[in-house]
């Protein structure tokens, strides 16, 4: 294997690790904010403690997010120097704005954490969360717009290899940006909801009947359900977007070879060597409907796309994983909400709670699958239509070595994070803290 391959793997590795912490980083502040607000509004210690405990776990994740984020920021230039040299002239603006947004978030998160009980009016402390939430969402917006640009570059012209007529704002607000940003944000909130829900469900499954966990579960499931719906709707728009701007990605995701109307959606299945689909579940007309909102619309197939521009067909599986988990979680949260409302007894069954515990990790898996789908789906391009991945990569000979070293470091980080987080909450159970809180409050540390 050469440097190009290893550069791709190392980038994939760093981003796959980073996206775990980035998703938590964007999503969780919303829930800290909701809990803190409910706590202040109803003068409910449970919610206040919830905000505090979530915030404490959140800091650990932010810390690892910061370092993996720094890693990917630097690796972009180390592994893709020619790409950054070229694209740096076009996307420097959102990249730069992202650091501002992140700076903003970092500052106010620090202040929030160390000012519990330092303000006379507790609302002032609560307001500190607004810049944290905004900063997280804005940095997601800016960085996703860079990624969107790589998918649908615009805002410049090429004349004999020279860039002319550059419009940074146009480059930022490229066609892929609105759906991508919306999908990233809503899926981050959705994933954060299920992650926090699994923690609560875990305590319930272990026999802890404290009201605190029930409140946490009810809150996260409600919000989670809303974001499931939002994510699905935006996902539908993303499909329509793909059909128009990146038909090769959609066609590869659906193993759709012949350009035809009345196109079906394929779920699961395997692809034989001569591109025949076997064992798949076929939903007739669904792809046409997804793309054109009518049952007979024509969908471009892979056979009409030059062979060397085909993405790897494996992305079909990632697409399936993402969509199935999305639908599964929507149903799960819906059943839970109806069940609570109607007092159905089976939502208290161990089996159902087991699904609730699994929901967080599954949502995170869907995030990973979604990113693998979208990123591999634009192979062979690093900047669609302008630069292939091979042209953008470094020609340094030591990328393989760095891959091994980083794999090792990320492994340590992940294990460390898991150990520290579990230890932190195990040693300091909620009940103990609640008792202390009724005495007097102290800083988070």
């Amino acid at each position: 294997m050469d440097s190009v391959e290893f550069s791709r793997y190392l980038t994939m590795l760093t981003l796959s690790v980073h996206v775990i912490f980035a998703t938590v980083g964007v999503g969780v502040p919303l829930f800290i904010m909701l809990a803190h607000w409910l706590g202040l509004k109803n003068n409910d210690q449970h919610y206040l403690l919830m905000a505090k405990r979530w915030a404490r776990g959140y800091v650990i994740s932010v810390a690892v997010g910061v370092v993996t984020g720094t890693a990917i920021a630097l690796q972009l230039a180390l592994l893709w120097p020619r790409f950054m040299e070229f694209a740096g002239q076009l996307v420097a603006l959102p990249l730069f704005m992202e650091t501002f947004a992140f700076f903003f978030e970092a500052i106010f998160l620090g202040i929030y954490l160390y000012t519990w009980d330092r303000f006379k009016n507790p609302k002032h402390h609560f307001y500190l969360l607004i810049p944290v939430l905004l900063g997280g969402a804005m940095s997601a917006l800016f960085i996703t717009s860079v990624n969107a640009f790589m998918n649908t570059p615009q805002g410049f012209s090429l004349l004999n290899g020279e860039l002319i007529n550059i419009q940074p704002i146009l480059a930022m607000f490229n066609p892929a940006m609105p759906t991508k940003v919306a999908h990233v944000l809503s899926s981050a909130y959705m994933t954060a909801a299920f992650l926090l829900a699994s923690i609560a469900a875990f305590h319930l499954i272990r026999g802890n009947r404290h009201e605190y966990h029930r409140k946490a579960l009810a809150l996260t499931m409600k919000v989670g359900f809303l974001f499931c719906i939002a994510t699905a709707l935006i996902g539908d728009l993303s499909g329509k977007f793909l059909a128009e701007y990146q038909p090769e990605k959609l066609a590869a995701a659906e193993w759709h070879f012949e350009t035809e109307g009345e196109a079906p959606i394929l779920l699961f299945g395997v692809l034989t060597d001569n591109n025949e689909v076997k064992y798949a579940i076929k939903i007739p007309y669904a792809l046409s409907f997804l793309v054109h909102s009518n049952l007979s619309g024509e969908v471009t197939g892979l056979n009409d796309i030059p062979r060397d521009e085909h993405p790897p067909y494996i992305i079909h599986y990632f697409f399936d994983i993402m969509v199935s988990i999305g639908i599964g979680l929507t149903l799960l949260s819906m059943i839970y909400l109806i069940g609570v409302n109607r007092n159905w007894s089976f939502i208290k069954l161990k089996l159902f709670r087991f699904f609730l515990v699994a929901s967080g990790p599954l949502a995170m898996l869907a995030i990973q699958a979604g990113w693998w789908f979208t990123e591999m789906g634009r192979q062979p391009w690093i900047m669609r239509g302008f630069m292939t991945t091979a042209e953008g990569a470094t020609d340094s000979d030591y990328v393989w070595l760095m891959f091994i070293v980083f794999a090792f470091v990320y492994f340590i980080l992940m294990v460390g994070t898991a150990v520290v987080l579990t230890r932190m909450f195990k040693r300091n159970p909620m009940e103990k803290e609640l008792e202390k809180l009724n005495g007097n409050g102290s800083d988070i540390g």
């Binding site: 950054m84 970092a106 620090g110 202040i111």
Partner: protein, 338 residues
Amino acid sequence: MTIEILGISVLWLFLFGYVIVASIDFGAGFFNASTIVTNKHHIVNSVIQRYLSPVWEITNVFLVFFFVGMIGFFPKTAYYFGTVLLIPISISIILLALRGSYYAFSTYGSKGHKGYTLMYGVTGVLIPASLTTALIVSQGGYIKELPSGKIELDYLTLFTSPFSWSIVLLSLVSVLFISASFLAYYSAVAEDKEALKLFKKYTWIWSFPTIITAFGIIIEMKWHNIAHYEGLLSLWWLFALSLVCFIISLLLLKRGRYGWSFVFVVLQFALAFYAYGVSRYPYLLYPYLTIYDGFTNETMAKALVIVFILGLLLLIPSLYLVFKLFIMNKPYIQNKKG
């Protein structure tokens, strides 16, 4: 002033910001760890934790800021530095990753874990050394051009050059000097007499090596890059001013005016840092890249400057708030419970 010079000045400012805040941070980590070994940890622990906890993530952002700005204003640097510095900068990334996460683990996770604290200290010394590689390479003379047209870092020359080792040495001693000076001030505000005494001592210990290596490097430059050496000499008065600030800071330290002493330390470094920066003009990477041939297009440059100003309007009040709440806030600093 052309927009290229404006661009590089902005970046130089970020880099200087990083040098100061990161020095305080790296040095604090080092002192924190070394006092574990010397059994003086109980003296400094509280002061260091009080300062570090709310601000540690801000430090990293300065670095990313500089870096992203560099690629924004000078996209060609991505090619040269990116290709050449894969290994040294990857090492820095790894050290930064371990350092950041282990800090969080020990502060928010298992408090007072000695392994984490030692790791935090050791990486704090290694990071400046590995980051300095970028600065050394930009001086020129360490890049090999292969027959295939590829460029590569010449590790042998790099590791055997006394010049590059002097720069590493300078970065190490100045980190400890800046940090000790700041922590002396901070413990003075905290009215923590024992910590103050210790940090005052550290400031004295690390002050002279800093100034000696700095002058050593200027002299070595004569053999390394004569054009740059002459550039440095033509700015002799700025370096002289820097030396004056150094002397004033030590006098103030002796008189117990720790805040002002630290201000003069910052001034001393600012003068030397800017004089050094100006003396390199117009090279980003000698002799391959100047600030003119590596510059981004006009439209992007203007957009970046506008965003930069808007961003500062947001950042300065926020940083002021941090300052007011944690660094200048007596009740916070003195509060021993935590």
